[in-house]
Amino acid sequence: MEHIKTVNNANLKESCAKGGCGECQASCQSACKTSCTVANQECENESRKGNK
């Protein structure tokens, strides 16, 4: 690839396989209290982390 560089491992599709465990942060409450940016939260699914 000379003209395009991919900077991450695209994995949103794969994330569904072991996703939806519900252990991660449920709201904006622990940092900002007025808005929600889900993409900056941490995944807390131990089995999914193991696949990294």
Binding site: K13, K18, S30, A31, S35, T37, A39, C43
Partner: protein, 458 residues
């Protein structure tokens, strides 16, 4: 869906449905921008002709081949096939709570969404017994969830500190029996902090949110004491002591959390002040939530200035990371492009009303702290053990496919539909996002992605 943007010298393409981020040269950027949907096997002649005025034909064909390879690898124009997961959170356990330990406050901040602490319902403190009932509620409604989050909120929580300590003790005494782990947090203005409360917070609270607005002149214009004086000089040394001690202990997480308004659209200077002059490296400085009629409210005409400020901040953060080897952390530029939340999580922005509720000093249950005081949204009460399941399901079923405009927005897996309370507050519909908030969020996400791109560029 592919979103392309140019920022800080980088041509960037985000493949929305896979999450892949690509950095392109200008030719690749120009060629990709000619397509709204999937690429055909052969590059359309008219595009080759158009671009051949600026680029060699062979280069155009080479780039097209690269784009096709990415598409075939599922990293460009990938499908949105997540709608099948939308019902997964219906009937979810409630595992997170905002406990309004004090509906009273010792500051009178002009922009307070809680009507300077009492949420429009009178100044009162939560009795310990109500707090214990709230703990019992979480323990019995959290199903198989192990991690339970509980934020002590107000008003000002330190005005009812003995109750906080009793409730924490009570919750801890139940953890083993129920196989749960409580993660306590507290949001404070710092006025009443002393050595004892600092040590207690640092021992028991996984995270602490320290409210301040940056430069003294900015802070003291909005965050006033009851007798109308500035609060900056009261809390700054206390916050500094708390953080200094905290970083030596087990619980290191904290946020210095500021609000910017129309009065300080140069808010990057407040970020630098908090970081450089006060010494806090975990920051969250956010736009005020206010009715457009307020003189300090952010309005559409402010957006170009705010966008420029976010870009300036992003560029400075990159400079510090590269030249100085480190930089403060800005909450809204945090993003994990590889191992962030799963796509299922990303279908809804917030668990409010479904996985997360707020409880008032009277034991009333609301979907979240920003709905408190609005009777229409009261979900139940701890004393009479009521909970409106219909309302809970309404929140569970609200997602990026039910929210107006989200399905076709490139940012949907980053903001995940935004804040329900904000939507209701401005548009009287939790499924109708607020345009102004969306515009700012999209700019922040672009900046966050660009920072990742810049840091990968050696």
């Amino acid at each position: 869906m592919v979103h392309t943007f140019y920022l800080n010298g980088y041509y960037i393409a985000l493949d929305v449905n896979s999450g892949a981020v690509h950095v392109l040269d200008k030719l690749a950027f120009d060629l990709l921008n000619k397509f709204e949907d999937k690429l055909p096997e052969e590059c359309p002649c008219e595009f080759v002709k158009e671009l051949s005025e600026e680029y060699p034909e062979q280069d155009i064909l080479d780039v097209y081949s690269e784009l096709l390879s990415l598409q075939n690898a599922g990293q460009l124009f990938s499908e949105d096939d997540y709608e099948r997961f939308t019902d997964m959170m219906k009937g979810a356990p409630i595992k997170s709570m905002c406990l309004h330990i004090s509906h009273d406050c010792n500051l009178r901040c002009k922009y307070c969404f809680a009507s300077t602490g009492d949420f429009g319902k009178g100044r009162k403190l939560m009795p310990v017994e109500t707090g214990k009932k709230a703990i019992d509620f979480l323990l019995t409604h959290s199903g198989n969830r192990h991690n339970l989050e509980l934020d002590f909120f107000g008003g000002e929580p330190l005005m009812n500190w003995d109750a906080v300590k009793e409730i924490v003790d009570y919750a801890r005494s139940k953890e083993e029996e129920y196989n749960k782990k409580f993660r306590f947090t507290v949001t404070t203005n710092g006025v009443l902090l002393d050595d004892d409360s600092i040590d207690y917070i640092n021992k028991e609270m996984k995270n602490v949110v320290l409210s301040l607005d940056g430069r003294k002149c900015v802070n003291d214009n909005m965050r006033l004491t009851i007798n109308g004086k500035g609060s900056y000089d009261i809390f700054v040394p206390k916050f500094q002591k708390l953080v200094e001690k905290r970083l030596k202990g087990e619980n290191k997480e904290y946020y210095a959390r500021g609000t910017f308004t129309k009065n300080n659209l140069d808010f990057a200077n407040d970020v630098y002040h908090i970081a450089d002059d006060l010494g806090f490296d975990q920051l969250s400085v956010e736009p005020v939530i206010a009715d457009a009629s307020e003189p300090y409210a952010i309005t559409e005409e402010d957006l170009p200035t705010i966008f420029a400020e976010y870009e300036k901040l992003a560029v400075e953060m990159i400079r510090r990371k590269k030249e100085e080897g480190g930089c403060f952390n800005f909450f809204h530029f945090m993003i994990d492009l590889d191992q962030g939340p799963c796509a299922i999580k990303r279908l809804r922005g917030c668990g409010c009303g479904n996985e997360y509720v707020s409880v008032t000093p009277d034991g009333d249950i609301y979907p979240c702290h920003q709905f408190v005081g609005n009777d229409e949204w009261k979900m139940g009460n701890l004393d009479d053990e009521t909970l409106d399941i219909e309302m809970k399901d309404k929140f569970a079923c609200s997602n990026i496919y039910t929210k107006e405009g989200c399905k076709d927005c490139w940012c949907k897996f980053y903001c995940s539909g935004g804040c329900n309370a904000n939507n209701y507050s401005f548009n009287k519909d939790i499924n109708k996002p607020v345009k102004l908030s969306c515009e700012m969020e999209r700019k922040r996400v672009e900046c966050a992605i660009m920072i990742k791109v810049a840091m990968a560029d050696k």
